[in-house]
């Protein structure tokens, strides 16, 4: 039982990061009805930028802010350079193109920062807290990760439900034609979706970096988990992405604890397959059908 609680506790912060990456995938899906497989590549790239800043200045907050800004810019660049020209032909082409971007980003990062895994120093202590005479697998850093994630999720929820921009973005996602006829500049909303997704992904990257390590391909596995969480959540639901992101984190932690961490991706893919067989629209989807 003690093991179970330990494993569970250990899964929360990685679950939060998976949730963030899943949110990024959902935001892009809601904008342009496609999955951006370059999302983790963009996050990897911005995390390298953050790493460089932290190594130079030692200032984590500065690194975070610059990473978010870079993520936003990168999101817009990817939209314009790759997605937009392909988008008009068909969406399968655009999805393949995002794989191209992923590979290009990984190659680029390798050329700039080298291929060896590097450590990322956490801004607060990452060793287990000692409460009641025992050390728990839960650190101050885990708390920071959860707080930042919660703040971001609350912020996004308020943005989407309380602001004119959020309403315009939702309307553009649900029905672009009606949105345009209502005076919404839909194209700008799509770009904004990609931009916010890039920023959210950047936060996810910088949060996971101290726990894993960073290399050009170290976030690839995150894509598997985030994609699973996003799809099970219904691909267009923030609530779904958060719920199943954290859920995936917990499951991975339990599997890694009781068996071996290399089993986790397999289990994630089995869950994904089961979901697509049993409830293909996802659990929290607004829509009746979709194609992945």
């Amino acid at each position: 039982m003690t093991n179970f609680i330990d494993y569970l506790l250990g899964g929360f912060s990685s679950g939060a990061v998976i949730a963030l990456m899943a949110i990024a995938l959902v935001l892009v899906w809601r904008s342009t009805r496609m999955v951006n497989f370059a999302q983790v590549g963009q996050a990897m790239f911005t995390t390298y930028i953050a790493l460089t800043i932290q190594q130079q200045t030692g200032n984590w907050l500065l690194a975070l802010v610059v990473a978010i800004a870079a993520g936003v810019v990168l999101g817009v660049i990817v939209f314009f350079l790759v997605i937009r020209p392909v988008k008009n032909s068909d969406s399968t082409g655009a999805i393949i193109a995002t794989f191209g971007v992923l590979i290009a980003l990984q190659a680029g990062a390798g050329m700039i920062w080298g291929g060896d895994p590097e450590g990322f120093v956490p801004p607060v202590d990452n060793s287990g807290l000692e409460i009641g005479g025992r050390i728990w697998p839960f650190s101050l850093y885990d708390i920071l990760v959860l707080v930042v994630t919660a703040a971001l999720v609350i912020g996004l929820t308020l943005l989407f439900t309380k602001t004119a921009l959020g309403l315009s973005m939702r309307a553009s996602a649900f029905n672009p034609e009606v949105a345009r006829l209502s005076g919404v500049r839909v194209n700008r909303m799509l770009i904004t979706g990609w931009a916010i997704a890039g920023g959210v992904g950047a936060v996810g990257g910088i949060l996971i970096a101290p726990v894993s390590t960073i290399s050009p391909t170290s976030f690839d596995i995150l894509l598997v988990f985030a994609f699973t969480a996003a799809v099970i959540g219904g691909l267009d639901s923030l609530v779904g992405a958060v719920t199943f992101g954290i859920g995936t984190g917990l499951i991975i932690s339990l599997i890694s604890g009781y068996s071996d961490s290399s089993n986790a991706p397999v289990v994630a893919l089995i869950l994904l397959a089961l979901n697509l067989l049993l409830k293909p629209d996802g659990v929290f989807s607004h829509h009746g059908s979709r194609s992945v």
Binding site: L167, R170, L181
Partner: protein, 234 residues
Amino acid sequence: MLETIELSVSYGAVQALKGMNLTVPRGEVTAVIGANGAGKSTLMRTIAGLVKPQSGQVLFDDVDITGKKPEDIVRMGMALVPEGRSTIPELSVDENLRLGGLWRNKQERGEARDQVFALFPILGERKGMRADTLSGGERQQLAIGRALMSNPRCLLLDEPSLGLAPMIVTQILELVSNLAKESNIAVLLVEQNAVTALRVATTGVVLNLGEVVKSGPAAEISSDEELRHAYLGY
């Protein structure tokens, strides 16, 4: 005032509109009637900027708006209520309304919203509910309400009677016709349901296969038996 001059639209080899000339004055309803496939929806979508015409012009208060984007056209004061109760089901009633005038300032939006609630009290009662919980007639009111949020000088109504009970259609159209008079709005109404449309309209235009076959006072059109048999099917 809305005018189309020699407006032609084609989808590939199919010519949907052939040199259409139309004038829609302010303060009254102009009804364009005709069978399915006559080009009615194409006309509306072209005026609203969703479809690019092959040739010809659309003038709105003497400004050429041909080929402008729909989001710019609505901001200029021309609002389209597209066919099929174009509300967004996932949004609340109030959100659907707000969407119609987001670019306007807060005070203007508030006033427009009060006017819409005065016109359609049911929308005020249901404002917190999701749009897909409304009945068909209520959703049509919501779609018109959203268009009114943009404070239009010209309102385009595409087949508002579709799928609604005749009594509700009459109510809604009479309301629209009063609105046209009171707020001095130019209303272009496109309908398959000719009888009801001509009852509220001042001018009637009969469209067949992309061409105007007859236009004149609505009463004249509705009493022209030959026309009715040939193009309107009743």
